[in-house]
């Protein structure tokens, strides 16, 4: 069990990172940006059914956290779902195909945007139910602990989800058992139309103390290194057996809650929006990379061009992929095939 005195606060990434890692951060942020921009366009064109939530504006928060995890580490997420697997290194083609519902999608077309999962990179699933995947990540940490395999687990969730009771059950369980799990709250300051400050009593990061676990608030969630730093510290604590950490990252989403959603109310102030748009995490990090001499503008242009090509490829892969056969709807419920009764009347067959 951890006591509150283990809490720490941090604001800026100061860990030494090699050039490759720094460029990988920018690459992954760009992947999220261009993947989501494309998905947004495809929604408007009617090429993606259902609902899509982008992480545009939140790339630093996503990538900073994911890059602090090892390849074997676990992760669960939420409806704002593309960034997480992309941040963890998932290839774009099967993700895009999933958004369209193609058979080559990462979930075979069964999941869609809301329920991406890519077990190959430790992505145990995005959850359309707000808060619901927090216990899942906690359980992955439990298996890591019981099996002693040294893995760490991270749960992404929003400021809205931070008011679901299961988070506190999870924090208490993880604190009691010193589980290697990180609870990462993406505080983009709104839950759909609801400003966090109107429905959140107290400060999310400060909730850790009462549960005897470490808590940290990253005030500048647009700074990928600050997020990386905080998460990395938490990962190291977890791997050393020192238990869980709650990280609250303050950030902002640049798009509407979901693509295509049109609300009559301006629940976000125009000046506020503008101020945040100026703190584009990708622009900021690019400036940092150039200023620090990590890469030249030309190199970073080339990097971006590569990412755009990747997204084009993902779309081409998607376009070339077939839709799944209708019978696929009846597979994968159980590990063994399950015959269903009276499906005959379903499609008008007599």
């Amino acid at each position: 069990m951890n006591m509150p005195d283990k809490n720490f606060y941090s604001n800026r990434g100061e860990m030494a990172l090699d050039r490759e890692t720094l460029l990988q951060m920018q690459r992954r942020m760009l992947r999220i940006r261009h993947f989501d921009e494309r998905a947004s366009k495809m929604v408007k064109r009617g090429q993606i059914p259902g609902t899509v939530h982008t992480s545009i504006g939140q790339e630093a928060q996503v990538v900073g956290a994911c890059m602090a995890l090892g390849d074997g580490d676990y992760m669960s997420g939420n409806h704002r779902s593309h960034g997480h697997p992309i941040g963890k290194g998932s290839p774009l083609g099967p993700l895009m195909a999933e958004l369209v519902g193609k058979g080559t999608g990462v979930c075979g077309g069964k999941g869609g945007s809301l329920h991406l999962a890519d077990f190959a990179v430790g992505s145990l699933g995005e959850s359309g139910i707000v808060g619901s995947s927090i216990p899942i990540a906690t359980g992955a940490a439990l298996s890591a602990k019981v099996l002693g395999n040294g893995r760490v687990s991270l749960a992404f969730f929003g400021d809205g989800a931070a008011n679901q009771g299961c988070l506190y059950e999870a924090m208490n369980l993880a604190g009691s058992w010193d589980l290697p799990v990180i609870f990462l709250c993406e505080n983009n300051q709104y839950a759909l139309s609801t400003p966090a400050h109107t429905v959140t009593s107290g400060v999310i990061a400060e909730r850790a103390a009462g549960f005897g676990i470490a808590g940290v608030r990253v005030e500048d969630g647009q700074d990928v290194l600050a997020v990386y730093d905080a998460t990395r510290t938490a990962v190291e604590r977890a791997r050393r057996g020192e238990g869980p950490t709650l990280i609250e990252v303050v950030t902002y989403r640049f798009h509407e809650h979901s693509e295509g959603l049109r609300l009559g109310t301006d629940y976000r102030d125009a000046a506020e929006k503008e101020a945040w748009l100026e703190r584009d995490p990708i622009v900021l990090f690019r400036q940092h990379l150039v200023a620090d001499g990590v890469a030249t503008d030309a190199e970073l242009d080339a990097l971006e061009a590569e990412v755009i090509a990747e997204v084009d490829e993902a779309v081409a892969f998607t376009d070339a992929s077939p839709f799944p056969d209708p019978s696929v709807a009846f597979a994968d419920l159980y590990t063994e095939p399950t015959p269903l009764r009276v499906a005959a009347t379903l499609r008008g067959a007599s």
Binding site: P49, G50, T51, E98, G101, K102, G103, G105, C107, G109, K110, G111, G112, S113, L114, H115, S127, G128, I129, V130, G131, S132, G160, A161, N163, Q164, G165, A191, L192, S193, T194, T198, V199, T200, R262, L263, G264, T265, Y267, F323, P324, D325, P326, V328, A329, F330, L333, T338, L340, R341, V342, A343, A344, T345, L346, R347, G348, A349, S350
Partner: protein
């Protein structure tokens, strides 16, 4: 009379109820901003009819995302003088508060020997058929039917939605309403006057004599369409919409089966232990002598809901599937021939 959509009718009922009784409050996520379209006449806060402006934030309660305490607090408030309408948006989120539904909302009046009354309405919408995947497509009314103490409405038309919701708010017992998003856009003439439709009274959506189709929620218009198609084949199908599942208008169903001798139940819920199972079992027990053919259920098969448009639509009761089921019960050899 005015043309109202299904969603508009719900909004109108809520507005009437809020105006009629100060104890009625609306509690839910994003109700201030009218995200789900039933807490404001217009799409914009500035438009005429915005609930927040009309009723104020004391009665329009925009909540954190905390379904368990929302449901429980509404129950506690109902036990102590309020008459809350809780907007839970998607029906898939009800599970979050299952303990409160089963152990508090449904049981308190009974357990406490009648001391508590529980005048509270829990609204939620079933988003099935809209490619939102397994987490947002649930139709969970059967599990609530298995919980004594709850009342359940499943309106299939704008006018029923309005009239039943007014009754629901008046009742001193807890009501769950399951709204059908596939019907959100449905429009018809609806009275702008106050009116109420009683619980436990079904509606004959279409008369017929050869077979009874009991249809639930979005299966009602599909069944009516099937009946129309079957008419061309000389088959006369009666379509019954029970409108409320608890209480259920058993007499209407039994009376119809007594005339037609045949029953198809069309139910968008999962098949096993669904509403169709219950209706079938009632008829097999209480109208057996009238039955001339097997009872056929057209329900969603026992699989979860896939996202892909190539996969999802086939799963729900459709006009074609319902018509095929009718043909099947009519094609079945009469029992007398079966040598019984």
């Amino acid at each position: 009379m005015a043309v109202m959509s299904y969603l508009g009718a719900i909004g109108a009922a809520q507005r009437e109820a809020m105006e009629a009784d100060e104890r009625v409050v609306i509690i839910g996520e994003d109700v201030e901003a009218n995200v789900y379209g039933t807490t404001g006449a217009g799409k914009s806060r500035k438009d005429k009819g915005d609930f927040l402006e009309m009723f104020g934030s004391n009665r329009i309660r925009n909540t954190p995302i905390s379904e368990e305490v929302i449901v429980g607090a509404a129950a506690g408030a109902a036990m102590t003088g309020l008459r809350p309408i809780v907007d839970l948006s998607y029906s898939s989120f009800l599970y979050m508060a299952m303990d409160q539904f089963v152990n508090q909302v449904a049981k308190n009046r009974y357990m406490f020997g009648g001391q508590a009354s529980m005048p509270v309405v829990f609204r939620s919408a079933m988003f099935y058929g809209l490619n939102t995947g397994a987490h947002h497509s649930d139709r969970p009314y059967p599990m609530f039917m298995n919980v004594p103490g709850l009342k359940i409405m499943v309106p299939a038309s704008p006018s029923d939605a309005k009239g039943l919701l007014r009754t629901a708010v008046d009742l001193d017992d807890p009501v769950l309403t399951f709204e059908a998003c596939p019907l959100w856009g449905l429009k018809e003439e609806v009275s702008e006057e106050e009116y109420r439709i009683p619980f436990g009274v079904g509606r004959v959506a279409r008369e017929g004599s050869d077979v009874t189709i009991v249809a639930i929620s979005s299966a009602v218009p599909e069944s009516v369409a099937a009946a129309e198609a079957l008419q061309a084949e000389g088959i006369s199908a009666e379509v019954i919409d029970p409108r409320t599942l608890v209480p259920l208008d058993v007499d209407l169903i039994l009376g119809s089966v007594a005339r037609t001798g045949r029953l198809v139940v069309a139910d968008p819920a999962h098949r096993t232990c669904g509403a169709a199972a219950e209706i079938s079992a009632i008829v097999a027990e209480e109208a057996f002598d009238s039955l001339r053919a097997p009872i056929v259920r057209v329900a969603t098969p026992d699989t979860q809901i896939p996202f892909s448009p190539a996969l999802e639509k086939q799963l729900y009761p459709s006009r074609d599937g319902i018509a095929a089921a009718v043909r099947r019960v009519l094609g079945a050899r009469p029992l007398i021939d079966a040598g019984v």
